[in-house]
Every structure is written in structure tokens, then in C-alpha cells.
Amino acid sequence: MNENLIFKIAAVGILVTILSQVLKQSGREEHAFLTSLAGLLIVLFWIVPYIYELFETMRKLFAL
């Protein structure tokens, strides 16, 4: 089923955490913020279709 969604989110989360730590150490604070923002947007784009699909099935199922 769609378990890989969870693993993808976790991977992006860990990756962004490491990247922002590295960037923070090297003094580029705003780059760290930009990477975490980019990571958030990526995950958002992954999750929104799932949410839409979920509520669409709910609507069809219960004739809301």
C-alpha cells in the first residue's frame, strides 16, 4: 500500500535536519532556513494528493 509515503517523509526530515545543522555550523543561517522550507514544501506536495484522495473517497462513500 502507500507505506513508502511515511518512509519518504522520514527521509526528507532527517536529510533536512542534517543539512540545516551543517549549514548552521558553516555560518550560513539563511541557507539552512531555505533548505528546511524547501523540504517542507516537498513533503506538502506529497501529502496533499493523499489527503484529497482520502476525503474524496469519504465523500463518495458516505454521500456527504
Binding site: M1, N2, E3, L5, I6, I9, A10, V12, G13, I14, V16, T17, S20, Q21, S36, G39, L40, V43, L44, I47, Y50, I51, E53, L54, F55, T57, M58, R59, L61, F62, A63, L64
Partner: protein, 127 residues
């Protein structure tokens, strides 16, 4: 079986979000959201079987379909509202959760109003 898969997935998601909670809390919240959606999609697919049985029962008993669709609508509203409310509470926003819950209760009340009216009218006729 499905239940084993879901529980393993749940525990895994909790552990992963535990790691992320310290450094980037928003990702742990995204993880919870993704996990809830996966389980909810499973639940919805199981519900379809349930609804087929309900339809069969309904055809046997010759119940008025209006009441059945009303009950289904209420169940749907509670499901969606429960999903949203728990997610908002999980993220720490109690007020938003309360508002959604209030709206869900009101919409269920509005749906059930015709039944109450019909009930009162029948009582009036008996008087």
C-alpha cells in the same frame, strides 16, 4: 493480516517522529499526518464491505432509505471531524480542534432535525 501491518507501521512512524521531534517538530507532525492518512485509507476500504452488508440488510427489512443515508452521513461527518480534531490536538492547537468539533456537532444536529420534526408530528396526531 492487515492489522499486523498497520500496527508495525504505527510503531515505526512513532519512532521516526520521535527522532524528528527534537530537531524539526514540523516533520514529526507531517509523519503523524501521513500515518493517519494511511490507516484511514485502510479503514475506508474496510468500510466499503460494511456498507454493502448494510445495503443487503436494508433491502431485506424494507427500511426507508432516507434514514439510512442520514445515518451514513452522520457517520461520515463524525469520521472526518474526528480525524481533523485529533490531528489538530496532536499539533497542540486545542482551540481549532474545539471549533471543528463544534461545527461537526452542529451539522449532525441539522441533519437529524427532520427526524425530530416527524416524530413530534406523529405524537401530535396521537394527541
Amino acid at each position: 493480516m492487515d492489522i499486523i501491518r498497520i500496527s508495525i507501521l504505527g510503531i515505526l512512524a512513532v519512532l521516526l517522529s520521535m527522532i524528528l521531534k527534537h530537531y524539526k517538530p514540523e516533520y514529526s507532525y507531517f509523519l503523524n499526518l501521513g500515518m493517519c492518512i494511511c490507516v484511514f485509507l485502510y479503514v475506508v476500504s474496510k468500510l466499503e464491505f460494511l456498507l454493502d452488508y448494510v445495503e443487503q440488510i436494508q433491502s431485506l427489512i424494507h427500511l426507508d432509505p432516507v434514514y439510512l443515508s442520514m445515518i451514513l452521513k452522520m457517520i461520515g461527518i463524525t469520521y472526518v471531524a474526528e480525524f481533523a480534531v485529533n490531528l489538530c490536538r496532536d499539533a497542540g492547537c486545542q482551540t481549532i480542534a474545539g471549533q471543528i468539533e463544534l461545527f461537526a456537532k452542529l451539522s449532525i444536529l441539522i441533519i437529524s432535525m427532520p427526524v425530530v420534526l416527524a416524530f413530534i408530528e406523529t405524537i401530535e396526531e396521537l394527541m
